[in-house]
């Protein structure tokens, strides 16, 4: 559905390339977690997919159409929630009235449901909201558009602790059907229960592109004592003992993926 083919991208005035001959394929009906250290190009990749940036070389296409062309048919199927944004000085009602006609699958029921879950009412003045509330409103609108692709850049930044769990609940409830969600984040704990595919970026290249099921099938994530470290691929000391990643044995049961541990292991080249 989304194909990133051999792209190179560089910001004007910067020495290095953010992406060099970078390729990626994203399939429908998945929730992707886009992870990476600061400056590895997570937000840039989302902006390239949305068509807000143009690659110097290569193509980014959605259903065969290059996103940089910003065709209406493409734009009505991709919605991005940037890390920072601003909403116009108007009521939510007015905002919905002027934006809804551009999204043929827009659902008022989803919008109202999301707002209710986020403990917000629909009679809001957008310029009177805090950043966290604006984010909740914008994410509710994004989910209500029912676009095929939804891109979220650091969606939990600026949300308080209860709102983070509300965010997970709302996304799990309304990301249904054949939709694809790409969440770029540093806060892996906020979203790990939602993800079903992990992408880990390092400068200019993709270090990991695997489904959570594949990772669970290949590796086991557990805590071990120093005496049980013989087959360990990666370990980190923790209060519960050593947090380790080890190859999964055929007869063992699957363990929950520790995303932070996986991220560190991949970045250190252990996996």
């Amino acid at each position: 559905m989304i194909e990133v083919n051999n792209i190179s991208f560089k910001y004007a005035g910067q020495k290095g390339l953010v992406f060099d001959d970078f390729s990626l394929k994203l399939k429908q009906d998945n929730i992707y977690g886009l992870l990476g250290k600061n400056g590895t190009g997570k937000s840039t990749l989302l902006y390239l997919i949305a068509g807000l940036l143009r690659p110097k070389k290569g193509t980014v296409s959605f259903d065969g159409v290059e996103t940089k062309l910003r065709r209406p048919e493409t734009l009505q199927d991709i919605f991005i929630v940037p890390e920072e944004f601003d909403l116009p000085a108007m009521s939510l009602d007015e905002y919905v009235k002027i934006n809804r006609p551009f999204y043929p699958l827009f659902s008022t029921a989803v919008l109202e449901g999301c707002l209710k879950d986020f403990e917000l009412t629909s009679d809001l003045k957008l310029n009177a909201l805090s950043m966290g509330q604006k984010k909740k409103v914008f994410m509710s609108f994004a989910l209500a558009t029912n676009t095929k692709v939804l891109l979220m850049d650091e969606p939990t930044n600026g949300l308080d602790i209860p709102s983070k769990s509300l965010f997970r609940k709302v996304v799990a409830q309304y990301m249904s059907g054949d939709r694809t969600l790409i969440i770029s984040t540093h806060q892996v704990h906020d979203v790990e229960s939602l993800l079903d595919h992990i992408l880990i970026l390092s400068p200019q290249k993709l270090l990991l592109d695997a489904s959570l099921a594949d990772i669970q099938e290949k590796f086991t994530f557990e805590y071990r004592t120093p005496a049980e470290m013989d087959d360990v691929l990666y370990a980190e000391p923790s209060l519960q003992g050593n947090a380790v990643i080890a190859p999964r044995k055929e007869d063992s049961t699957g363990t929950q993926v520790n995303l932070e541990l996986l991220f560190n292991a991949v970045n250190e080249g252990k996996i």
Partner: protein
């Protein structure tokens, strides 16, 4: 490929006008205040300290100049209502074609021109009432203006009206195209008009240095004087079309990066 759908364009128009409601309101008030103060400056005894009616003629000249500047530089206001990259981001991601969005942004100057006309009549009425209240001899600037541009008072024997009108239209189209190009080339939404003026001054200097015969809006190609305006009109007409095309292409290529120019 240029895509245009009238139904979608209507949605874009509604979206833009709703988003820019406060901008238009603010601009209207600014224009109304400036016009009122200009009218009062010229028509009350502040001007020349001689009495009310002495300043009406220079007031008309100033109004005409303001009008011409408003029309010529209008397209530089294309993105004036946008506060920063977030507003532009919202526009770029709106599910409409680039052409529909560009056309709607370009139309900003037409709406502003309409507001200018309303502000003009409002300011004229205010100056009339104030002059009447303070005991001056009140007149409407519009009436004074109309008496000076009465077509029946112009001796058409000496003026090729078609040629003059054509030249004026092309001149304004060219100026507008330059400011439209400036508005999409420079990222600054507020000061693109200043940057465009500076660029035009620089380009005129280069042009005067490279082509000394290309001056005062005319190219001296042959000695037949009747050919000159047509030739220069054709050159400036094509140049204006090229500028508009470039401006549209730059808009299509606009990225969400905080650079000085859109390239």
């Amino acid at each position: 490929m240029i895509q245009f759908n009238i139904h979608r364009f209507r949605k874009v128009a509604r979206w833009s006008l709703t988003n820019d409601k406060s901008f238009y309101m603010r601009m209207f008030l600014q224009m109304f205040v400036v016009l009122t103060l200009t009218f009062l400056f010229f028509t009350t005894s502040f001007y020349w300290l001689k009495g009310a009616d002495t300043g009406y003629k220079p007031c008309c000249v100033v109004v005409v100049m303001m009008l011409l500047v408003q029309i010529a530089m209008g397209p530089s206001m294309m993105f004036y209502s946008m506060k920063g990259k977030y507003d532009k981001q919202a526009l770029l991601l709106l599910p409409a074609s680039n052409f529909e969005k560009y056309l709607m942004r370009y139309a900003t100057w037409i709406f502003l021109f309409g507001l200018w006309v309303i502000g003009y009549f409002g300011a004229d009425l205010v100056q009339y009432v104030i002059n009447w209240l303070i005991g001056n001899n009140p007149q409407f600037v519009t009436a004074v203006f109309a008496s000076h541009i009465n077509p029946f008072s112009i001796n058409l024997e000496y003026v090729d009206l078609v040629k003059v009108v054509c030249t004026m239209i092309i001149a304004f189209a060219w100026y507008q195209s330059c400011f439209a190009l400036g508005a999409t080339f420079f990222r600054s939404t507020r000061y693109s008009w200043i940057l465009t003026i500076l660029a035009l001054i620089f380009l005129s200097m280069v042009q005067a240095w490279l082509f000394p015969n290309f001056s005062s809006g005319r190219i001296v190609i042959d000695s037949n004087a009747t050919m000159k305006p047509y030739t220069s009109n054709a050159v400036y007409g094509i140049w204006a079309i090229l500028n508009y095309w470039l401006s549209y292409k730059l808009f299509c290529r606009t990225q969400n990066i905080g650079k000085f120019v859109n390239l």
